[in-house]
Structure formats: structure tokens, C-alpha cells
């Protein structure tokens, strides 16, 4: 009964081929196709027309200014919050951390809508309290500064997380040693803590920059009315005005986005690579300073930040959703639930969007789980040198902005699929494929961490008991990684349900998603309907985040993205 399994490996041979095929189709093929189209149009001269177009360079300039300003705002907000919350003895840390992380999980177009509802002459909230600016005065957020500010709010949690992970690992004994050698608290902060946390700052800033560059929802809602185009919205408008050169143009434009993103990701990776010193000392014990009389002020500052970045915009959003029409003042007598009735029961478009988003997200979350359990198993158990390469390839589609991937998939599927001759372009299936590719890394991460924690002898015992690969998977491995698998499903569902960028490019009549529906409602002037739908989405986000938060104790470290 010979089986030529190498080196007592626990995997059947087909597993490696399976993983290679999966990663080829989800990552290598679309991105390779995009690169090929980009290069060919670069060398065929088709690029000259595009690259000499001042609109493109204006978009690059606007992308860079909004992203850099947004990054600075995110660093100030997220960095300040992380320092205050982690290093000082403020109360209510868990609640503050959770609330601060919320904006990153709220879809960007919803963030944009809620801030619009909070400012400008038509704000239902401002009108209700009689503070609205006079009619005709401009909406201040329709500007470079407005886009940058919202980038900052949306991405501050990324800086917060990155910095907090570093700060939590700071050895308390090192801080105490500095204190014993006579340094004052301020000196300790300046000489020990800030230098040690610099990598966290830089990495957080870099990842926030990448996220800003690829953001679609915020510039689409705030920029397009003011004729400010960033690269993602320029791509969107190119698709809207479809022409002969569209494919070549958008592949070059998304190439530009990819280059900017890769610069940011490289900086992040470089900085974090030098972070090995963080394991020295008794980590886990957080360095903490007493604020004394200042504590109340510190807490006030933190809650004020939450109030301004989260509570006020969401209140404005709710106010807008209750107002009978855009611009009509909201009073207890005019308040109405009509908008909710409209989006939930009357409008077939929003109902289709609900069905589409929920079924797409469920299919993605559950379908990916099957793929990622097998892939994760291979990546953790394999001793092959290819495993880290495959692991990196699996990460790329999620690391790159969604718009790049959407364009890449259009290029792959614009023509009918060879051999079977069916075209999925314009159907819901292309969105499903894009979700699989985009959220593969999201689904993979919790599963891989769970496999890493699994004692290999549990599986070895099953092998000696006579159980083959499939049997072990079903009886032993899957039940043991079940909590992480559950988290993976919820996480993918949450992110896929809120997604706009990918579906904004890939949708067509009948296949719109929730993100697209919100955007289209706002675009067509039904601001109260857009607000109502957004409120429902925010409620769903918060509910699912709370479920994950409750599960967090049973999950491996690093599975729940907003906990560190």
C-alpha cells in the first residue's frame, strides 16, 4: 500500500495544485492581465494621448494632495487618540476604542453623506437647531479640504491600530528603568516612547495613504459635484463615457493607482520589518502614566473627538433620513419614517440592492471559507519554499485599492470566457468573482491564525487513528478552527456588504449593490432616501461588529481587525 507522499507530509498531492490554481485565478491572472494591457498601451502610443491630457495630471495632483492631507489628518487624529488611550490612565478604554474604530467599518459613501448632512445650508440637523448657514452659501465639504478631512476621519483608525499595536508591546520595565534613572514622565515620553513608536506612526501613515489613494466613495460624493476628480473617480467617469480607448486608458490609470499604493505598502513593510525589538521585555504590560488632575480633561478630549467624528455625523444622518425632503426643516411634527418605508418596501431598486448585496456577500463569505480552509491548511503545514510566495500573492488583491482589481477583472472578462464561450461581463457573476478575489485575504487571515495555533499532534493522532486527509479535515481540523472560521465569515460578509468601489465599476441594471444604491439615490437627489438606507447599513455594521466583539475572547489574536 505505497503512497509516494513526500517526507510524511500530511497533505494529499492535489492540495498544492488546488492552492496554486486558486491563487492564479484570484490574484495572478487579473493583475497580470492589467499589467499586460497597461504596458501594451504604453508602448503602442495610445498612452500618449492620455498622458498629455491635463485632466489626468490634474487628477493625479488632486489624488496626491487629498491623500497626503488626509494622511496628515489621520495621523493627528488616530495617533493622538492612540497615545492618549494607550499610555494614560483614562477610563472607559474598551468603549472608546470600539467607538473610534467604527468609522473604518462604515462605508465611505455613508461617511460622506452623514457629514454632508451635518454641514452646509440644507443640513436637516442644523436647521432643526436653527444654526444652518443661509441658503445659497456653499457646501464647505465639496472641496479638496473636505475630501481630505473625511479621508482623515475614515482612516484615522488605521493609524490608531498600527500605533496602538506598537505601544501595547512597549516593555513596561524599560519605561520603569528610565523612570528610576531619574527621567521625568515627559522625558520618558520624548526619549523612549516616541522613538520606539515611530515605526507604528510611519506604518499607519503609509497604510492610511494607500487607503486614501484608492478611496472611491468619498471623492465620488464630495468631489464630483465640485468637478474635483481623483484617479478612482476619473476611472469611473471614463467608464460612464465609454469609448474606444476606455480599456487602455483605465488600465493605465489604475496602473498609476497601483504604483502609488505599492510605494505606500513598501514603506509600511520596510518600517515594520525593523520592529523585531518589540518582543524584548515583559510585553503585554502596558506602560502607563498617571494624568492626575488632567485625567478629566484627557477624557473630555477623547469623548469630544468621538462626538465630532462619529456621533454628530450619525445624528445628522438620522436627522436627514427623518426629514420629509431635502432642505425641509426637521421638527417633531415634520419628522417621518416615509424614507424608510420607501427604501424597505416601495422602491424595487433598493430591495434588489439588498437582495444582491446580501446574497453576494453570503456567497462570498461561505464560498471563500471552503477555499481558505484548504489554502490556509496548505500555507501553514507546508514546508515548501513556495508557501511564503503563495501567501504574499494571496495578499496583493486586498492590499491594492478595489478599483484596480475591478478594472483588472473587466479586462479579463470583457471577452467571453474561452472554451465555454459565456460572457459574465455585466452579470452579477463578475461582481462575485471580484469579491472572491478582493476578500480572499480577509477570509484567509483568521483561518491561518487559527491553524498556526493548532497543536500539530492533534492531527497526527488522527492520522495514526487511521483517518485520511478528508476525514481529518471534517472530524478534527474544521471543528477546531470553527470559531475563527465563523469570524472569517462575518468579517467578509461585513466588508462585502459595505463595499462600493468594486461594484460601482462592475454593476449594471439589476445587479446594483447596497453601496451603488446609496450612491445612485444621492446622485439623483433623493438625499433622504440615501440617508435612510445608510442608517440601515450602519445599524447592520454595528450589529455585526458587536457580534465579533463578543466572540473575540474565543478567537486567536489578530482575527478581529479592530482589536490589538
Amino acid at each position: 500500500m505505497f503512497r509516494s507522499q513526500n517526507r510524511g507530509n500530511s497533505q494529499p498531492r492535489w492540495l498544492f495544485s488546488f492552492v496554486v490554481v486558486v491563487i492564479f485565478f484570484l490574484s495572478v491572472l487579473p493583475l497580470g492581465r492589467l499589467a499586460a494591457t497597461g504596458f501594451s498601451s504604453l508602448f503602442n502610443g495610445g498612452a500618449r494621448a492620455l498622458l498629455s491630457d491635463p485632466v489626468v495630471w490634474q487628477a493625479v495632483y488632486d489624488t496626491l494632495t487629498t491623500s497626503i492631507l488626509g494622511m496628515i489628518a489621520a495621523v493627528i487624529l488616530g495617533g493622538g487618540f492612540a497615545l492618549l488611550l494607550t499610555l494614560f490612565d483614562v477610563r472607559g478604554k474598551t468603549a472608546l476604542g470600539f467607538l473610534f474604530m467604527l468609522p473604518t467599518m462604515i462605508p465611505p459613501q455613508v461617511t460622506a453623506l452623514s457629514w454632508i448632512g451635518m454641514t452646509g445650508p440644507s443640513s436637516a440637523l442644523l436647521k432643526a437647531i436653527g444654526m444652518a448657514p443661509p441658503l445659497g452659501s456653499p457646501q464647505p465639504l465639496y472641496s479638496i479640504g473636505g475630501i481630505a478631512l473625511l479621508y482623515g476621519v475614515q482612516n484615522a483608525p488605521l493609524v490608531f491600530l498600527s500605533l496602538r499595536a506598537g505601544l501595547l508591546a512597549l516593555p513596561r520595565d524599560g519605561v520603569e528603568a528610565a523612570g528610576l534613572s531619574g527621567a521625568s514622565s515627559w522625558q520618558v515620553l520624548k526619549d523612549i516612547i516616541l522613538p520606539l513608536s515611530l515605526p507604528g506612526f510611519v506604518a499607519g501613515a503609509a497604510i492610511a495613504f494607500v487607503s486614501c489613494v484608492g478611496n472611491f466613495g468619498i471623492p465620488a460624493i464630495l468631489g464630483i459635484p465640485a468637478s474635483i476628480y481623483t484617479l478612482p473617480t476619473l476611472i469611473y467617469s471614463k467608464f460612464a463615457a465609454f469609448g474606444t480607448n476606455t480599456f487602455a486608458d483605465v488600465s493605465l490609470l489604475s496602473g498609476l493607482i497601483a504604483i502609488l499604493s505599492v510605494i505606500g505598502l513598501t514603506v509600511e513593510e520596510r518600517v515594520l520589518r525593523g520592529r523585531d525589538y518589540r518582543v524584548i521585555g515583559l510585553s503585554g504590560q502596558v506602560a502607563m502614566f498617571r494624568l492626575g488632575n488632567w485625567r478629566l480633561i484627557g477624557e473630555l478630549v477623547l469623548w469630544l473627538a468621538i462626538f465630532i467624528t462619529l456621533v454628530m455625523p450619525l445624528t445628522a444622518l438620522i436627522a436627514s433620513s427623518l426629514a420629509p425632503a431635502y432642505g425641509v426643516p426637521l421638527t417633531p411634527t415634520t419628522a417621518t419614517l416615509d424614507a424608510y418605508r420607501e427604501v424597505l418596501f416601495k422602491q424595487s431598486i433598493t430591495r434588489t440592492a439588498f437582495t444582491n448585496s446580501v446574497s453576494l456577500s453570503l456567497a462570498t463569505a461561505l464560498g471563500l471559507l471552503v477555499v481558505t480552509v484548504l489554502t490556509g491548511y496548505y500555507l501553514v503545514r507546508s514546508k515548501s519554499r513556495l508557501a511564503p510566495v503563495l501567501s504574499a500573492l494571496a495578499e496583493i488583491p486586498y492590499a491594492l485599492p478595489g478599483i484596480v482589481l475591478a478594472v483588472a477583472l473587466i479586462l479579463v472578462f470583457a471577452a467571453p470566457i474561452p472554451i465555454i464561450g459565456i460572457s459574465i461581463y455585466g452579470t452579477i457573476w463578475i461582481i462575485l468573482v471580484a469579491y472572491f478575489s478582493s476578500f480572499f485575504a480577509v477570509s484567509l487571515k483568521p483561518v491561518v491564525s487559527a491553524f498556526r495555533q493548532l497543536d500539530p499532534s492533534l492531527e497526527e493522532a488522527a492520522r495514526l487513528a487511521g483517518a485520511g486527509f478528508g476525514r481529518r479535515l471534517v472530524d478534527i481540523v474544521v471543528p477546531l478552527v470553527a470559531p475563527a472560521a465563523g469570524a472569517s465569515v462575518i468579517l467578509v460578509f461585513l466588508i462585502a456588504c459595505n463595499e462600493l468601489t468594486v461594484s460601482a465599476i462592475l454593476w449594471s441594471a439589476g445587479t446594483q449593490t447596497l453601496g451603488v444604491a446609496i450612491y445612485n439615490l444621492d446622485d439623483s437627489g433623493s438625499f433622504n432616501l440615501a440617508a435612510a438606507l445608510s442608517v440601515l447599513v450602519v445599524i447592520m455594521v454595528i450589529a455585526m461588529m458587536l457580534v465579533l466583539e463578543l466572540m473575540a475572547k474565543r478567537l486567536p489574536k489578530g482575527v478581529v481587525p479592530w482589536r490589538s
Binding site: A461, A462, R463, L464
Partner: protein, 342 residues
């Protein structure tokens, strides 16, 4: 069932360095109980994992009877070897009850219904855990978990049972009880057992044969009595039993078992003679009215006797027992009843 044969077995890991297992040849007779003894990192666990099928040898082969289990080219997967193993970490599946853990090998083999539950009951009875069948492993103590792991081995009548330092995580009191359980298990099942340990007392107490390994090589295989009485080389001598290794001018003597007359003679006409390592067990050192002078350097009261360390004139250290109390610094005269040239 048949003999387990390791034939010039070697294993080098891809990381390079010296091979983890180097040219190990060994036969374990059917129904034998072999202890693989050695310090940590000596390759004993790698040998065990190769027998189980978790590692493939880079050279040599493993045979069960005339069936080749593994060589450098091919190997039978662990799931087809009909072996069982008790892991150091117990490796019980936390999501299954005790009975399900024990019954899993039967479930995989398609044994169902009454036959399966009877077998599970018997296996649990053999380790005296019938009352715990419905508990989860997390609710059991360390010793109980180990017994569940053992019952899981018992249930399918495997050809070979492998035990990887099964007592390392238990306290001393439990170890003795478990040693008894293992012995009983061996007698009852008649399976060939291979037991990896770094604790020589455990190896001597349990096994019918002891194999001593160091740095990937096999140093000696023999029965516990034999290996205690006639160890080969300094490493085995130092590892097995208590004893002191002393350089004595004994290189020229033919006989390896040396009594006091010979030792005395050697010492008196020694000047210039080549020295050899000899092993002196503490029970062979007698404090007498006459003999070689020695100074007491440490005294440890053990209850039934005192354990002493003695320094000879040239500062070499011996171990000895004494029924009478002695003090550190006392001078005594000793006679060495018996010694073994290594």
C-alpha cells in the same frame, strides 16, 4: 504481528547541520518494550516520528516483519501503519467527549453500534476511567488525560504503540501510578511498545530493552539489567543509574569487572600506568576501618540513609551511602567492592 526493524536509519533535516539521526540499526522483538533513552536533542523523538510515519528517513529503512514501512524513496502513510501513539501533549481532541476520543479509531475503521461501545467500555475500564466516558478532556486532570490517550491506543489492537515522553508533564506522584498503568497495558495488550524518555529511572523500570542514544547515534542496546551492570562508554555509564566515573590506572587489565583486590593492586603499582575510566556505583563503596582515604564533601539525608560525595586524594569525586551520620570535612577510609571499566 512481527519484528520492527530499523535498518541503518538516518535523517538529515533541510536546515543542514549534523544529521538528527545517524545510521541507527535496531531490532525490536515482537511484544518487546523498548525504551529510547537519551538527553534532549539526541534524535530519539525523530526516530519515533519516523517509525510513526511523520518524518521520512533520508537514508536506511524501517520494516515491520517483511513489510517495508519507509525508506528514502517511499513510505507508507501513518494512517495505514496500524500504529498508535501517546503524545507528550496527550493530543486529545477537545471538541469530543472522552468516549468519542477513545472510539475515534474505531469510527474511522467503520466499527459501529454495540461492538464499538463495548470496545470503548473495555478500553476505558482498562485505564479505570469508565465513569468519565461523557466528560470532555478539558474537565480531566493531567493523569486522567494521559490515561484517555492510552485507552485510545488500546482500542484498535495496534501492531506498535509509540510513547513520546508520556510522563514529562506529570508530577512525580502521578508518574509512579502511570508507570504501573503502562506496565499493565503492555502485559495485557502484548503490543510492541517504543517509549521515548530522557529519564533513565523510567526507562529501567518499564522496558524490556533500553536503547541509549546521543547526538543522533545509537550507543548501546541491552536489557535494563545488562545496561546497568555493563554499560559501554562514558556516556552510557553516566546516563544509566547513579554512579561516579573515575580515572583509574586500569587500562592494562583484561577483565572489565574489577574487585577491590585488583583495584588496590593497580593503585599501588600504578605510577606511569595508563588510566582508564571506571564506573563506581555508590552501593559498592563501603566506609571501612581501612582502605583509601577520602574526604566528605557533601552529605544529603535521604531518610533510610545518607548520600555522600567523597573526594579522593587527587580530588576525583565518588558517591557513597552511609547508615551512620557523617559531617562535611570528615576524613573516612573506603573500600571499593566492585567497579566496571567503561
Amino acid at each position: 504481528m512481527a519484528k520492527l526493524i530499523l535498518n541503518r536509519l538516518s535523517k538529515a533535516f533541510e536546515t543542514g547541520g549534523r544529521p538528527a539521526v545517524n545510521d541507527v540499526s535496531l531490532e525490536v522483538r515482537d511484544g518487546g518494550f523498548l525504551a529510547l533513552l537519551g538527553p534532549s536533542g539526541c534524535g530519539k523523538t525523530t526516530v519515533l516520528r519516523m517509525i510513526a510515519g511523520f518524518e521520512q528517513p533520508t537514508d536506511g529503512s524501517i520494516l515491520l516483519g517483511d513489510r517495508v514501512l519507509a525508506d528514502a524513496g517511499e513510505m507508507v502513510a501513518p494512517e495505514h501503519r496500524n500504529m498508535a501513539m501517546v503524545f507528550q501533549s496527550y493530543a486529545l481532541w477537545p471538541h469530543m467527549s472522552v468516549a468519542d476520543n477513545v472510539g475515534y479509531p474505531l469510527k474511522v475503521r467503520g466499527v459501529t453500534g454495540e461492538r464499538r461501545s463495548t470496545k470503548i467500555r473495555e478500553a476505558l475500564a482498562a485505564v479505570r476511567l469508565e465513569a468519565y466516558a461523557d466528560r470532555r478532556p478539558a474537565d480531566l486532570s493531567g493523569g486522567q488525560r494521559q490515561r484517555v490517550a492510552l485507552a485510545r491506543c488500546l482500542v484498535t489492537e495496534p501492531d506498535v504503540v509509540l510513547l513520546d515522553e508520556p510522563l514529562a508533564n506529570l508530577d512525580r506522584h502521578l508518574r509512579q501510578e502511570m508507570e504501573e498503568t503502562f506496565r499493565e497495558f503492555h502485559q495485557r495488550s502484548g503490543a510492541t511498545m517504543i517509549y521515548v524518555t530522557h529519564d533513565q529511572a523510567e526507562a529501567m523500570a518499564l522496558a524490556t530493552d533500553v536503547a541509549v542514544m546521543s547526538e543522533g547515534r545509537l550507543l548501546q542496546v541491552a536489557s535494563p539489567q545488562e545496561i546497568y551492570a555493563r554499560p559501554e562508554g562514558r556516556l552510557v555509564g553516566g546516563l544509566v543509574g547513579q554512579g561516579a566515573i573515575v580515572a583509574w590506572p586500569a587500562a592494562s587489565v583484561e577483565n572489565r569487572r574489577l574487585d577491590w583486590d585488583v583495584l588496590q593492586q593497580l593503585l599501588s603499582r600504578s605510577h606511569g600506568a595508563d588510566c582508564a575510566d571506571i564506573l563506581i556505583r555508590p552501593q559498592d563503596v563501603e566506609i571501612a576501618g581501612e582502605g583509601v582515604p577520602a574526604r566528605v564533601t557533601s552529605v544529603l539525608f535521604e531518610g533510610e540513609r545518607y548520600a555522600l560525595k567523597l573526594a579522593l586524594g587527587d580530588e576525583q569525586v565518588l558517591r557513597a551511602f552511609s547508615r551512620q551520620p557523617v559531617k562535611v570535612g570528615d576524613m573516612v577510609a573506603i573500600i571499593i567492592r566492585s567497579a566496571w571499566r567503561l
